[in-house]
């Protein structure tokens, strides 16, 4: 079961942060023997050198602008999760990236207004089920879009990701032994 309320320090990124930034092709796709953790060291290398290696800390929160995760279908959430990002909040998120995030079990919420709501370095408290966001430095609150209970993405996220969701479904249908 997912931890529902998460608090952390904010890193802010801009609009149109592509998955090429999160997982550079010439580093990661060209080197398929890299581990997930090794690949994550190159996350945001082009747009924010040193961030993944030295700056980001486990439990931090990533805040982005519009169209977060645009571009390639490579799973940028895998690297963000390996960096132990607790939650991603963005003005809008690309479809492919949003599905990857759900399937990876990394809570990623569309949060219109988040850019003006928080400064880098401030702390947020995020309820990933209800979508309530609280700025612990200013006391202000913001409503992010929550997944509706019972919808497939809600079920998959709450299961902890696609792998766990699939195992349950495969057992129910007798495709793998219980």
């Amino acid at each position: 079961m997912m931890e529902t309320v998460r608090t952390g320090r904010v890193w802010k990124f801009g609009d149109h942060i592509s998955t090429d930034f999160m997982m550079p092709g010439h580093r990661v796709l060209a080197n398929p023997d890299l581990t997930v953790e090794e690949a994550a060291k190159f996350c945001m290398e082009a747009n924010r050198p040193g961030w993944a290696e030295d700056e980001v800390q486990p439990g931090d929160i990533l805040v982005a602008g519009i169209n977060f995760g645009c571009g390639s279908s490579r799973n940028g959430s895998q690297s963000l999760k390996a960096l132990n990002i607790a939650v991603v909040l963005a003005e809008s998120v690309s479809r492919i990236h949003l599905r990857n995030a759900v399937n990876s079990g990394l809570p990623t919420l569309v949060a219109p207004g988040i850019n003006d709501f928080v400064e880098e370095g401030q702390r947020l408290e995020v309820n990933i089920v209800t979508g309530e966001v609280k700025n612990l430095d200013t006391g202000a609150t913001l409503q992010a879009e929550a997944w509706e209970e019972g919808t497939p993405p809600y079920e998959i996220l709450m299961a902890g990701g696609l792998d766990a969701f699939m195992k349950t479904k495969l057992k129910e249908r007798g495709r793998i032994s219980a």
Partner: protein
């Protein structure tokens, strides 16, 4: 209330009468790719839902440049055999998946396909709902089903008459430059109007291909005789064109008059940075590499136009021009038509069909500070190699003309 093309196709595949935006549906999927077979095996599943409906080709590191890549493909071949996947295309018989799968009849009007690779929106050119599934392609492999949120539909009406030397690439760069690269975010985009009809199938294919560059889930064209001509002999099952109902509801409708369109380029950084190339001419942007390839623009007519421009001319001494046809079938056709010989004589390097240079993988990665004019789809920082390189997107004609000039030029100067 009537339905859009996407709503009709999703409803039909969910076994329901109607589909409305925002609704979540579990749909039957007509086909997928084999990328996630290893995940299926890790889950302990011993059969795919239908081996006839799984297609696979290795295109990104093809053939492997490293031992690690070779081992990855070797492992995939084992899985292809284990799961008895019928539509597997080995090196020499393959190419870039979006082209190869289409050549082998994977897509037909009315289909719903969810497969790996973000440029899967390409398949929308066949009047079908084709989109990316990444991790969850394993769900398709196991069950032949996937969940979909019914997207809002938007209509892009392409009016006027496309001028000579403007093609689908110029159209999509123009549209993305005006509407931004998120107008299709999580939406189904339908391209209609006189220019949609006028464009060749290959040109429409470019527009559907770059659907993902504007955020779209689907980038769909209506079906017509050009669609059927391509599918003839490739798709042997019966199909019907799907049209939107006259009273279908669209979240937005955008109209463009393209009669005055001129060749476009997208400045480095984002595919939405499109500007008329004539406006860039004065900047005298020097080119190190000219790339004619990728799933976006390396079809037969793309190679034909490049050959026509380069016929009897030479690639500029300071430029290397890389040509990679979109599939080995296209390679063969271009060879037979003499286009490849023309390109070779002009000093271009003709590679086999591969994704390599487009994603900065291999066979033409850019170094620090280099500039590339590319017929591909993405010009993000670091996309084609060094984060310090600059990638400009353009049509095959503009790429070919710039290869001769050694700087970014308007192809109309070279006709």
């Amino acid at each position: 209330m009537g339905m859009t093309i996407a709503e009709k196709i999703l409803a039909a595949h969910a076994g329901v009468e109607t589909a409305k935006p925002g609704q979540y549906l579990w749909c039957k999927v007509d086909a997928t790719s084999g990328h996630r077979l290893a995940d299926l095996e890790a889950l302990g599943v011993d059969k795919v839902w239908d081996p006839e409906k799984v297609f696979h080709v290795d295109d990104h590191q093809a053939p492997p440049p490293t031992i690690a890549a070779a081992n990855k493909v070797k492992e995939m071949r084992r899985l292809i055999k284990k799961y008895e996947i019928k539509n597997y295309f080995e090196y020499g018989r393959g190419g870039i998946l979006h082209q190869v799968f289409a050549e082998h009849g994977m897509y037909a009007p009315g289909d719903l396909v969810a497969q790996c690779d973000s440029h899967s929106t390409s398949g929308g050119v066949f009047n079908a709902c084709v989109t990316n599934a990444n991790l969850d392609a394993v769900h398709v492999l196991a069950f032949g089903e996937l969940w979909f949120r019914v997207p809002e539909s938007v209509r892009v009406v392409l009016n006027g008459t496309l001028p000579a030397w403007c093609v689908g690439k110029d159209v999509i760069l123009k549209v993305a430059s005006e509407l931004g690269t998120d107008y299709g975010l999580y939406k189904s985009v339908e391209y209609v109007g006189p220019v949609a009809s006028q464009m060749s199938l290959a040109q429409r294919w470019t527009v559907s291909n770059m659907g993902v560059e504007v955020g779209a889930k689907f980038a769909i064209f209506e079906g017509d005789e050009k669609t059927d001509a391509f599918l003839s002999g490739r798709v042997n099952r019966p199909y019907e064109h799907v049209t939107a109902d006259p009273d279908a509801s669209y979240e937005a409708e955008y109209e463009f008059n393209l009669s005055d369109l001129t060749p476009m380029v997208a400045r480095p950084g984002d595919p939405g940075n499109g500007v008329p190339v004539e406006g860039v001419r004065a900047e005298r942007v020097k080119v190190d590499q000219a790339f004619l390839g990728s799933c976006t623009n390396a079809r037969l007519e793309d190679l034909e136009v490049a050959a026509r421009i380069l016929d009897g001319k030479q690639v500029h001494p300071d430029v290397r021009m890389l040509v990679s046809p979109s599939s080995q079938e296209v390679f063969g056709e271009a060879l037979k038509a003499g286009y490849l010989e023309t390109l070779l004589k002009a000093g271009a390097l003709v590679e086999h069909s591969t994704c390599g240079p487009c994603y900065g993988g291999h066979l033409g990665v850019l170094g620090d500070g280099e500039t590339c004019i590319s017929s591909s789809n993405r010009n993000f920082q670091g996309r084609m190699g060094s984060p310090l390189a600059n990638v400009w997107l353009a049509s095959p004609a503009t790429v070919a003309a710039s290869a001769i000039a050694g700087e970014i030029v308007d192809p109309r100067e070279y006709i």
